[in-house]
Symmetry: D3
Subunit: 236 residues, 6 copies
């Protein structure tokens, strides 16, 4: 069972004001370089996603480990994690970037949705994307694949740190998604990211309006001390 | 000339009820592992495609083999196969996954459509996708490429077994496509796939409705004997 | 400062009648093989783009070279080229095909637009694509990436020849884009490409109408001397 | 602590008569397809390796997880597994196939050797290969890399199932290496593989001698029932 | 059966004086750009290879096509081509660059050698390289792989044009190999390549001796008309 | 002309005591992460290399830019840089990691050697490696390729910052190579790297001798303050 600190729902909602690009710009300054997942795309770019990570990990298919009757499938890590999803969780599936097997499809995605899952992130293949697209749950994937996961993968672990699209995701990390993609916020940095993120997001809107009005980027963007103070003044 | 057994048109239509993911889930159980093409995307995800494969094969460009006047082009394999397309055929082009040359564009796609082709599958580049998208013929590709095929490829054979996006396609194989992608059904397995596919597709719809209603996946999905029998009873 | 020959605006507009595929079919016959960018996709496939290249070049991130206060950022090549954009210029960013850092986002794209830029082409990552998509400036990219460029790249030069998605772009080259992608026209070949391109584009429309009406490809496509003469006659 | 069944030392020695190719030919017939590591090469092709797997797992570098004084480094998974190596163990490092950081170098390899390690297998980079080559411990790697692991990787787990060069390795699995590369034998299949492997190896030597003497492959190779019985008779 | 024009043995021997780099420098000037195989390495860099191509072609594994008893294996394309090798032939195996299955090992290589084969070229995996290295037959490969071919590949054709490591090989083409790699000479160009190749090879030796003696490259290399005439004079 | 600060020859010699791995371990602590070239291998692992970078940059082949008589070739960037090599320079060729064209071969390498070049580093293909190997000049490459550079590349610049195998090389940077590969030392950091490098190299030798004698890694490696002080004491 995942035992990480739970972020209050309102704070996850508040984070949705902040774009993934803004967060991915802040985290390197806090010492975290690789936080934006590379090579994933949103099935529903119109939805924003914010939640805490629940993870499942795959290795290359090993037929002896994949064996077992459908009746016993619920004991496997992939089933365990899905039936342990709590409201606000984002399911993060480390499918090794492998596209030969689809680790989740419409039925399991429906279950994640029903349990209150905030989103699904797959570094690998997703099945039944036509239907998944209709489920109103934010879903990010590397590719479409009709074949089931066990053709090329074996699920071996859940609720452990995983690699995902060039980032590391620890259970409980905050996962933010928008039309650009997905960014991972280490749980211990969440409060700082939320606070600075909202400020920075609004500052960027302010700067863009100046650029739209004809300002040069010089002295304006990337945000200088002067422009930040100017923004802070007018924001009050 | 392709001399494979022709599947009746109604059966190809019937197959369209089945999703590519369902077929790609069945075939491994019949001993065929790699049947779903990896890395292709649909130009028209709204169209379903079912037909039998006609193939053309490319190798890396060899200028001596590519030489010849436009007047004699119709003797080349690519032209031969297109002018041999019969109603219900799917043109499968093994462009080696190479994206430097587009092996088909709007004019040839129009010709395939006119001849009654059921679809076009390209493991490689397609030209003029903006226009091809308007032709109402299902088309799957690895990427867009404006340059013509001979810049990087030479067509060397047609109506032979080809590799395509991680699968092998034999002329006559049934090719099924939907918004997820494309699956290859070996001709000898078609009857079994059609029968089991339709049953399995409906079973999955039944299961999804249970999951939507709040059922756990345990004992329900992947389909157990019990749930399958329950579905079979209510289906009669 | 870029000192290439400026193509009159009307000629760039006239070029927009020609598809990238048509140009990419002509250039190999003029001796230029690799002219169509491979692996980029349009953020706005509905917009056509024609302009002259202004370039910026990146190398892998070197922290000592990336150092410096935001106040001095405007001295860097990326800032220099953006503030030097003139109406009709296309900004071509050689991000090495690297997807770990986004070299441009909504604010800089807004500035390019304001300065009259005709488009943006990035062999790499773009940030804030959700917003960039609303800017009505044609933008081509390899992938979406929220993280800023310096996480993985360093801008080292501007207005020099660059590699971009498998092509070479020299400042001043004409860059044409449509829903298929982007093609590079060496400046010295522009006049010939424009003239032959418009003719060839119309010839292809003529041929497609024949194919739509049931003509075989034999003797018709690729365009033979006979069909070209037939078209030329009816065009007058 | 690893708690798998220990294979007696003589049996591991006996296995060394069998080539990795022979084992990789047998395992698919026992239902295990992906057992030969793809893309690794031996630093010392002259040495044979047989032992049981001890594993360590990496994810992409996360600076907050990599932090800590050198004094506390011994608490990390990579240190734990190295100091837990027992005679006959093969250290298997799942470096994700990533070549930007070297997860082991001459000093740690020396320690593995001192503790009786039977070999080192790295799906990733190795440092100090010039020195490691002199240590007389079989070492397999994907590439040479001077930079230390934490530049691109974080060690997160040890003695868990890992992916390695296209295979899955469970702690305790038997790892066999020779000049061709490395094969993974699931522990439960070891006895069968040893028995059949030795027989098959000798059969292949017998067949090769016939081929060298001018026999056709027809009826001889791959081994038919007849040739196998002929071999079995002469072997007694 | 292969029915191409046979090059006399002495001419193939004569070709061995010419390096693959020299041939790969000449062929583009004769209109053939991609003639040097990319990504292969020699198992025996000390041996030179010259012969005519016999080809076999693979597609991704299809279990229904791979089925069949070992007794009937000799009917498959791979067996057919090996038992059809004639003295001076080079076996060219188009393994799709795939490294998951080894398409030839020590026993089949021994058979190729016995039949007088001049070499083996594999765009894919080779098994038993430790033994193959001892056979004194030039062998080029993409990688080592212990698993047998059918794990990932199906042989579907022989003595047809194939793609191989970025080149196209037509049966009968002359295949030249040395420590650098392998170059394909279209059969129709052989006489010209042999003649110009020997001349160019000697010219380069002459030029290198001048450079070693301190000459600048200016006016000397690449060979100018003046230096070529100087060489031709002294060569007589 | 390159106008960087010249490092005295003795200091470059002194640096050769330090391994590339040691330097690649130090530089991240000085803020430079990507300093070790990834994916290159030494043609002569027995030679050490230390010198200052002279660079040449390539873009994808553009036939109009590659045109010109051999007589005028000496005006091209590649010829310029080679004829500008001074004793102690390392020629760094940014061949884009592209393997389709070999940017240097035995004759140009001979010229680099004659002019006193300390080594050659190629992120791309090298021709005539069999001969280059005999020249006693350290050479690092990504692959062997017989075809000449212009088949796939165009040289566009020299003595500018270049990307090379995942690193950035600025003219004048110190390039160190050994059997493991190549590391780039920013010129401004050379003095510090030399001093700390020699110390660290010797410390590692000291530690390895302790590990060989049976010491645990705990408290010893990575070097703690205590072990470093112990080493410093015994070193005096």
């Amino acid at each position: 069972m995942a035992s990480f600190r739970r972020i209050p729902k309102e704070q996850l909602e508040a984070l949705k004001e902040v774009s993934t690009a803004t967060v991915a710009g802040l985290l390197p300054r806090m010492g975290i370089r690789s936080c934006f997942m590379t090579g994933l795309f949103p099935l529903r770019p119109d939805l924003k996603m914010a939640g805490q990570a629940r993870t499942v990990r795959y290795t290359p298919a090993r037929e002896d480990l994949n064996a077992g009757a459908p009746e016993d499938r619920y004991l496997r890590p992939q089933w365990q994690v899905i039936e342990a999803i709590e409201p606000g969780d984002v399911l993060v599936m480390d499918g090794r970037g492998e596209l030969g097997g689809g680790v989740i499809g419409d039925i399991l995605a429906t279950r994640v949705k029903y349990r209150g899952g905030a989103g699904i992130v797959v570094d690998g293949g997703v099945r039944d994307t036509v239907t998944v697209k209709t489920l109103d749950i934010p879903t990010y994937l590397r590719g479409m694949q009709g074949a089931p996961g066990p053709v090329t993968l074996t699920d071996v672990d859940w609720d452990v740190p995983v690699g995902c699209a060039g980032t590391t995701v620890v259970p409980g990390d905050v996962i933010l998604g928008d039309g650009d993609g997905v960014v991972v916020i280490p749980l211990a940095l969440f409060d700082q990211v939320l606070k600075e993120g909202v400020h920075h997001e609004r500052l960027e809107v302010y700067i863009r309006s100046k650029i739209e009005a004809g300002s040069s980027t010089k002295g304006v963007y990337p945000p200088t001390k002067a422009i930040t103070e100017e923004f802070d003044r007018q924001a009050h």
